[in-house]
Structures are given as structure tokens and as C-alpha cells.
């Protein structure tokens, strides 16, 4: 089983998310993360979907996605030729002064940011690859995590290659 990051360009109108998500559930895929937002083009949104599955299953899901009328492009984004980022907000306990300085040190090392603080807790913002986000969360665990929220991965091809320049299928 391989993890795949799929970029899907869709028409930006009601029901699109249900259509795309429904395809994955119907074919037994578990979506690990899903990030949606507007793109450089009007009325076109981009979904970045991370799923686990074998090659053949993934090929099938890609073809099925392509069949949806609202789907304009589908691309598998390989880690080797892409840049990817995820953003996380982490609320962590800071009940002793010692804890507090240790946490601040880690935030520095990870080039993260403290964006909210009071006497009981701190909220940390971090961006990076999934691995980096995971690593920071692991390190903060012993202090007591109160809440974690992650955006899910987004990704772009490196260099001038872009998803929108691909055709939907051989035409």
C-alpha cells in the first residue's frame, strides 16, 4: 500500500465536494486528508487529497474522478518532484515555568510561532512537511496536548510544471 497525494481541479459549485468524497467512500478508500480552496482561475477550486491504496485501485479512482463532469483535472503528485506543506495549530499545556521555556526552545528550533498564550497554555503555529509537523507534535506530547488541528497537505509540482497545464485526458 502506497500513500498518494492527488490534486483535483473542480468546478466551484455546490455538491462538488460530496461528489468527489462519495467516489472515494464508495470504492472503499479512506481519505487521510483533504484540503480545498480557490485557485488562480475564477470558479475553479483545487482539492488536495491524501489517500492510501495500491496502484491499481488508485488508477481506478483517478479514472472515476475524471469521469465526473465537474472535475476538470486529476493528477497524482509524486513527492519526488513536488513541494508540499501542511499547517497545524497546537494547543499545549504550560503549567510550570520550566515547561514553558523548554517549549519555547522547541518552537524556535522548528521555526514555529507562538500565536496565543495564557498562564495555562500556549498555541503554536507550524508549517512544513507532514513529517516535520508530526515530529513537533510528538515532541510536545509529553507536556500535554490540549488540542491539535491540521489543514491537511497541499502540494505543487516543482518548477514550471503545473496541474492546470495538463489536459484532462488524451483528447
Amino acid at each position: 500500500m502506497m500513500r498518494h497525494t492527488i490534486a483535483v481541479l473542480v468546478k466551484d459549485h455546490p455538491g462538488v465536494l460530496a461528489r468527489v468524497a462519495g467516489l472515494f467512500t464508495r470504492r472503499g478508500f479512506n481519505i487521510e486528508s483533504l484540503a480545498v480552496g480557490h485557485t488562480e482561475e475564477n470558479n475553479i477550486s483545487r482539492m488536495t487529497i491524501v489517500v492510501e491504496g495500491d496502484e491499481r485501485a488508485l488508477e481506478q479512482i483517478t479514472k472515476q474522478l475524471n469521469k465526473l463532469i465537474d472535475v476538470i483535472r486529476v493528477r497524482d503528485i509524486f513527492p519526488s518532484n513536488s513541494v508540499e506543506r501542511e499547517l497545524a495549530l497546537i494547543k499545549v499545556n504550560t503549567n510550570s515555568l520550566a515547561n514553558r521555556s523548554e517549549i519555547i526552545q522547541m518552537v524556535d528550533i522548528f521555526r514555529a510561532k507562538i500565536i496565543d498564550v495564557n498562564s495555562q497554555m500556549m498555541t503554536i503555529e507550524t508549517t512544513g512537511t507532514e513529517d516535520k509537523v508530526n515530529a513537533l507534535i510528538e515532541l510536545l506530547k509529553p507536556f500535554g496536548l490540549k488540542e491539535v488541528v491540521r489543514t491537511g497537505k497541499i502540494a505543487l509540482f516543482r518548477g514550471s510544471k503545473s496541474v492546470s497545464t495538463f489536459k484532462k485526458q488524451e483528447e
Binding site: V10, K11, P14, G15, A18, R19, G22, R26, R56, E59, Q60, K63, Q64, N66, K67, L68, I69, D70, V71, I72, K168, Q169, E170, E171
Partner: protein
Amino acid sequence: MSYMKLTGAQIVVECLKKEGVKVIFGIPGGAIMPLYDILYSETSIKHILTKHEQGAAHAADGYARATGNVGVCIATSGPGATNLVTGLANAYLDSIPLVVFTGQVSTNLIGTDAFQEVDINGITLPITKNNYVVREVRDLARIIQEAFYIARTGRPGPVLIDLPKDIQLAQTEFKYPEKVSLNGYKPTFSGHIQQIKIAAQEINKAKKPVIYAGGGVISSNASSELRDLAFQANIPVTTTLMGLGTFPETHSLSLGMLGMHGTAYANYAISAADLIIALGVRFDDRVTGKLSKFGSQAKIIHIDIDPAEIGKNVLVDIPIVGDLKKVLKKINEMIEKKENTEWLEIIKDWKRKYPLKYENNQELKPQYIIEEVYKISEGKAVIVTDVGQHQMWAAQYYQYTIPRTFISSGGLGTMGYGFPAAIGAKLGCPEKRVICISGDGSFQMNQQEIATAVNNNLAITVIIMNNGYLGMVRQWQELFFNKRYSSTTLTGNPDFVKLIEAYGGTGIRVNKKQELSPALEKALSLNKFVLIDCIIPGEENVFPMVSPGSPLDQMIGVD
């Protein structure tokens, strides 16, 4: 330039006219009344009032299959819309072009659980090729045009348009777009030329080729190209249930149907083939038997318009995405004349040793009924079936030679499909003889449509193969569940002759073999709606049979 202002309801009707729609099926209700009001005075479109929306959907589907045009039906919101669901799923699985309109509560009420509000778009997401909720009346004409285009092009399928009541009443300038522009939908038509060359080479090289043809040949109108290919290179042809009629079964190259209830020689041939030419098919489990053994001796060429079908169930050697008619035309130009004598001898031998057979005794056998129907209709009728044993006998014992003359629910296997579909087929092809082969179980799932048939003077002949059982399930119970006939005995059957008479139609009962052909003669000569209730032996089975999960060359009932 200024355009006329029309209401949404008027726009729907104008668009239907632009699309050349002549007949539509449906039932009115609160949320679709504005549209029905326009239909009231519209003379160029005939509206057929069915007695259940499922009947309307299947009738539109039968109409589409018989004519090749897009079928259209209408229902109101809520229960009207949900009653269409089986019909949509049926059309979706068999790739039948439909455009379906449902009424919806007004836009300001959507999402409030208003009276008769259901999210029919959400419900039908997985069983439509595309669906729409119209939110602005100015989008309506474009949406309808897109819907027809999407329904009939590429791999055809049903498209649903949900029409809120206020949209039907709102006014806008009517303008039918010049052409459809959809950047997310571009079917591939021509096929990759390099792949086509390789396919032709393989066909020229093959020693034991078999063509495996399906419903795609019908949707693409590629039957004559298929025949050219087969005749030119002497390639035997087997078809799926959906492909019956694409190749003349009276021809010596025909192997009939393959699969679970296919002929022994079709199943042997495909199992022994060195090249399988798969045309407009999807390697369904009812066709392939045990998947790992299917075509294990063979290279496979797979031509289909839907890229998602390629490699879905079976890994193929030479995939070609494209419209069959176009692709086959090109392949045919590269095909050498060949005799294939040795291979055809082997097949001839199988045909001689393992023909389709049944015990033709003094009883009124279902297989005999089909043979008689074939004779009396000279093989030219449109045969529409329901689902069960009778469906398989109708597939096996009638020899189809013309595309669109066998109409049956393949992918979904919907009991209750046949009779309303026959109504649709007759309305689409009034000049043709339409015969519905149904079962005592299936017929009762949509028998309310007797009223529709009688009321519209539709000269359809319905033959009920009355075995007193949900026969196909009983057969499985006999073979795989120790004859424990759990809930398959139809003890409460009505007197079908009286039932039809109650609606003002004609019914004939046939108990004995010798009564059959006079009854058929009479039914066909009356030129009106007639139901023939044939009392057949209860425990007759459909053979050959490949048990689910077995390889195709292991069949029950072949010796």
C-alpha cells in the same frame, strides 16, 4: 438582439422541442405543476401518464433502448422523485441515455424539510452520470442542453435535473446556446492509432480469436462494423446479454451468449481462445466466471469509450479508448482475409456435441414458448424481458439478428423492468411488434401499468411464464441451498386473465402445449394489448449454468 421572455416551465418545453423529444413519461404533483400546466396545451410532445414513477423511468429507458434516442421522464418532488431511483440505477448500470426532471420545493424552502422535500440530487449522486439543481432560471436552458449532451455522448447514462417550483415560474429571456461547452467533459472518440495498428496485427496473427461483444456495440451503432470484422477474418462472435442482436445469431460464426447461462460452446471458445477481442463490454462477473481463469490463454484487446472500464476487472494487453464504430472502421481497413478453418472446426464440433437443449416433451416448456415466439414473429419482434429464469430462456432460445430488438435489465437485474420498458419501446417503435416476456413474480412488480397500456391502445403482447415461483431464486435454492424454498413460492398469485380483463384488456390462458400457437396467433392478429398467461412446469431450470465463482468452462447441465 432581444429574445422572448419565457417562464422556466416554458423553457423546459422549448428545450425538449429543440432536442427533438416526441414522447415523455411521468406523473404530476405539487412541485412540478407549473411544468405540467405548459404541457397541457403543448401538442408536439406526447405525455404518457404512467401509474407509478418507476414505470415512467423504465418506460423512458425502454424507449431509449428501442430507438437510440434519449428517454425523458418527469416526476414531482419527494415521493415522486424517490420512486424514480430504481429506474435511474437501472439506466445507469446499463449506460442508457435518460434526461429526468424532478420537481423540487421552491429555492427559499430548500433545506427546511418542507413538504415533499427530499435531496434527490444527493440520493442519485452515485446512480446518475451527472445531476443538477437549477438555482437560477437563466441557467436552465444551458443545463438542459448539457444534460442531453452528457446523456447521449461518451458512455451514455441518465442525467437528472431538479427543478424548484419558483424556477419553473420565474421568467427570463430564452436562448438555446449554440453549442455545449464543458471543460470537464471531453470523451475520447478516435482511438490511439498506434494501439489500433497493434490490435490489427494481433487479429491477423491470432489462431483462435473470439469476439466478445457487449452493449457498447449497440450504443455506438457499431453492429455493421462488428459484422465486417467477423466476416472478413472469420472470427466467431459471442455476445453478452446486453450485446444480443449486435451479431446475427443465425450465422455460423455466432456463438450466442456467454457467461453464467451462456452456451457451452461460447464458454469453451472464450476459455480456449488465444485472442479475445472485447468490444464495448465491462467484464462483469456474470460473464467472466472466476476472474483469474477468464481468458487465461488469451491476449486481450479491449475497446471501450470509457477509460475507467479498461483494466478495471481484467488486465488487458491492448487497451483502446474510443468510439467503437470509429475504431472498428480503422481496424477493419488493416485486417487480412482469413479462414481460421481449424479453429472453426473445433467450434463446430463443440456446437454439435453441446447444443443448447431441453427436454421437449408434452409439457408446456418455457424454452418451447420462446422458440414458438421466435417462429411466429420471424425473429423480427422487439423482445423485452423482465428478470429471472424467463429472461435467460428468452436470451437463449430466441435468435436475435437485429440490434435493439432485445431489451433487458442487465446490470441491475431489476424485476419489474420489462413491462413498463415494453410500453416505452412500443411508443418509440409503433411499427414494430413488441413482445414482453415476463415472470409471475416480476410482472407483479409493475402490473399497475396495464392501465397505461390499455389506455393508450398499445398493441403489446405480454407473455407471463407462470411457474408459481420466484423461479431463478428457487433454482439457486435447489442447487445451492438443499431445496429449502424459503419465500420463493408465489401462492398468492392473481388470476392474470381476470386481472387484465378488469382493466378492459384481453387475456388468454395457455395450459397446454398445443394451445400455445393459436394463442400467439390470436394475440398478434388482434393488434391490441393482450396478455398470455402460460402455465409452465414449476421446477424447470435454466441450463447451462456456471456456478458463481467457477471458471466458465465448468458448467452444470452440459454432458
